[in-house]
Symmetry: C2
């Protein structure tokens, strides 16, 4: 066995470079040569580790998604304790909004991948939906808890609560977009999210306001 090297570390070094390149100049700037130069290695090496360009991009995508998931897991899963629903949702907000430079950069990269996936095969588009679907369940469960419903079975949940969960996540996606585009500052986005929580916790399930 000659010259053994930590493959995982090398791969991470390269996908990190790819993340920087994509965040700075977009997906189509992520050429083999640009990524290799950014990582300080040769083009051949990138090829060696990821084979295809698809391989490189897939690994980079997974890296940033995993980082996002790790942040979410770190913030949300306080072990043993059961935070009040509003705090739990505040945790979701804090985990998902791009509140610091690192997450902002990741959000740009994710947006690039997202846009690319829209014009891909149905399989790629389907992969975009797994995270939102899971999150809707998490959010709806918290809203159920807050509104005194127990843990309703599948399909038994109040329609308005489901809509509120979708509303919550769609708003977070929109706020992320606003922050990344530079239309809102992170604190403003946070304040808007807090305002949404005000609305959600003010009205009970099934009670629409009079027109």
């Amino acid at each position: 066995m000659p010259r053994l090297v930590d493959h995982a570390e090398r791969r991470e070094q390269i996908t990190d470079a790819a993340r920087r390149v994509i965040g700075r100049a977009g997906l189509d700037a992520a050429t083999f040569q640009a990524v290799a130069a950014e990582a300080g290695v040769s083009v051949r090496l990138v090829q060696y580790y990821f084979g295809n360009k698809d391989g490189l991009l897939a690994a980079t995508h997974r890296a940033v998604v995993d980082a996002s998931a790790a942040r979410f897991g770190a913030g949300g899963a306080a072990p043993g304790t059961l935070p009040p629903p509003r705090d739990a949702l505040r945790g979701v907000v804090a985990a998902l909004l791009p509140l610091d430079a690192q997450r902002r950069a990741d959000a740009v990269v994710l947006a690039a991948f997202h846009a690319a996936a829209l014009t891909r095969d149905a399989a790629a588009r389907e992969a975009l939906l797994t995270a939102p679907r899971a999150l809707v369940e998490v959010v709806a469960a918290q809203l159920d808890r807050a509104r005194g419903a127990g843990t309703p079975g599948r399909g038994e949940r109040d329609v308005e609560t489901s809509r509120d969960a979708e509303l919550f996540l769609a708003t977070l996606a929109g706020l992320t977009q606003s922050v990344v585009a530079g239309h809102l500052e992170a604190e403003q986005a946070l304040a808007v999210a807090e305002r949404l929580l005000d609305h959600l916790f003010a009205s009970q399930a099934g009670g629409p306001a009079p027109t």
Copy 2:
């Protein structure tokens, strides 16, 4: 003068082809050859009318933005009448959400341009903000009307109302994203927006809910 041709029509024929190509396969598939083939003209002709590739893309972008603005103008500006605020905001929802196939396709194209602009120079990124900034004013004005505030001057508006306006637009952006990604159907997105209107018209300005 030889063989005069309607330039506007030819340009529209070509930008329409570009819109289809981008909507189907993404921005980087919008090559001269692909667009020319889709439009049924020669590559040279596309070059003749738009010179640069940047010219072609800029014209295409403007075409879809203009289409969007036209839809907004057509739906929103009922002349003379002054609809109740909630109906006015419903009009904004109906104008902005991708409720039919045409608008869905346009939304995909816009998302592609949006993602590309994120990793461009500051000027391109600034251009993304003009539409949202104007819309925030429109929405906030309706909320002021609904809440009995007159037409407050610049900066005098209630902070919560401003946040609600941002909330409204961010949610619409997020819902658009959800529909385009295939996570929500158009009717579901509409229902979620309606639910948000419930929340917005239930609470008055400055009245956060108790935690």
